[in-house]
Symmetry: C2
Subunit: 306 residues, 2 copies
Amino acid sequence: MKLATVQLEARTAVAIETATGKVAIMPRHYPDVDTLIQSRDDWRTEAEETLRSGAQYATEALNWLPPVVRPGKVLCVALNNSANPDRIISGPQTPAMFVKPSSSLVGHCHPIIVKDAYGRVHPEPELAVVVGRGGADIPVESATDHVFGYTIMNDITSPTMRGEDTFHYRAIHPAPGNPDGVRYVESWVSYPARYKGSDTFGPMGPWVVTSDDIPNPHALNVRCSHDGRVITDDTTANLRFSVAEVIAFTSSYLTLDAGDVIAMGTALRPSAKGGAVQNVDLTLLGGTIEVAIERIGTLSNPVEHR
Amino acid sequence: MKLATVQLEARTAVAIETATGKVAIMPRHYPDVDTLIQSRDDWRTEAEETLRSGAQYATEALNWLPPVVRPGKVLCVALNNSANPDRIISGPQTPAMFVKPSSSLVGHCHPIIVKDAYGRVHPEPELAVVVGRGGADIPVESATDHVFGYTIMNDITSPTMRGEDTFHYRAIHPAPGNPDGVRYVESWVSYPARYKGSDTFGPMGPWVVTSDDIPNPHALNVRCSHDGRVITDDTTANLRFSVAEVIAFTSSYLTLDAGDVIAMGTALRPSAKGGAVQNVDLTLLGGTIEVAIERIGTLSNPVEHR
């Protein structure tokens, strides 16, 4: 089943894709997919009833919101593509993650806003997991039971701000053998709030596809296009850590809650004709960015330079 | 006025400190300080009425929650202490930040949970701002008008996980002069979700003190103690970027919402007797960590090794 959160006049509502490519609107007690996931109701029976008897709308008329409007957290896995090991001089053997604030999320068709002060800004096409049932210390064997569904995230990134918010510094560490002594260790540390979390840096949607409709999340083509030109043509088979591995590992540190989103890491393989997503400087080029993932849909966002 | 969110049997409630050091409980339509901030009601009139006529409780009987239970985002400013410039070889001239997930927050007296797999874990005592009125592009001159109040954050940090989640790698950058060409640039990048955001890594509270009671947030003593021994004895006068500067800068990238929390950066100056917070390895030492900030209160959390 394909679900979305949409703005309908003064209210928000859950939309379901119909067999003919229109949408039907769920009853008002589900103002968004967040509420539907968190309710323990039998929402599927209501959804089927809505598909049978509800008013239907053309998708062109919709104002799309992020399908999960305000996730408790949005975790993003870094450098999780099999094309990466060649590039990594040293790094973790487990999934490394950052948090994207929910204030950065925008829906399908809403603009990605860039400013000159942002420097270079590029798209990153990603499969994202929407957590259905929360938990801590989730075993890898049952990890996918915790998935509500899958959506698309465009993990907008400013490498200019990443460079600016990196410190080369002397970190304070304890001195061996002296409980009050310290030593300075030359280190690098970078902070992602701005370069990953600025407003509109999280286009997400249009749909959440429930997990029963995606039996294998590791066999999905991922394409990223700029003004119709295909840049990235990859598959989720190239993810280094799987959905189950990421859920199991993450939940042994951070309790996952219903409605949390985990973006699985950038699809990287350039198309036959394309360059790299890093060549698509949205601040310079503007245009429209599309991320299409097989079985989920196409997330399209125009760039607006302010 | 000093406000807290507390658990009262099966519900949560807003507590207010009374003149005699007890607490009075606000009416049920404020289940937490989050709701009180987001309501545009005249909550102060209700609070004064509660102080006059409400039932009073001893603070010892309370189960303290994070005063803002589920902030939209928790931003933390890194390396924001005047003791830092000596240690910084290169770094930004503006506030650098990361996002701490709200799932990591715990209230006063609740345990900080550590595990052997976390490696070293240390406390970081910080003044935190609770946003009252949201906004984007907030001018520095009126920035403090957006502050609801101030609280205490213990920004628990695992330097072991920080090291593990750091990549030394070849970043992909556009090649100059070739729109599809790339070049590899040796870089360092670190990802804070685990090392700053694991469960219980965000003790916060006990109180939010409204901004009218703290006319100058840059004149507050900050102390951090481990099992009664004072480690840090600093003042918010040593913050490099002020509350107003941080709000103005941040809001030009990330829209601030009512209830958002901004932790202002670690107070660093060691006490006359103490070592550094980096010497206080909670995984090794256990014990109880207290952060006391003048005019706000004392946040105390025992360490529990699992």
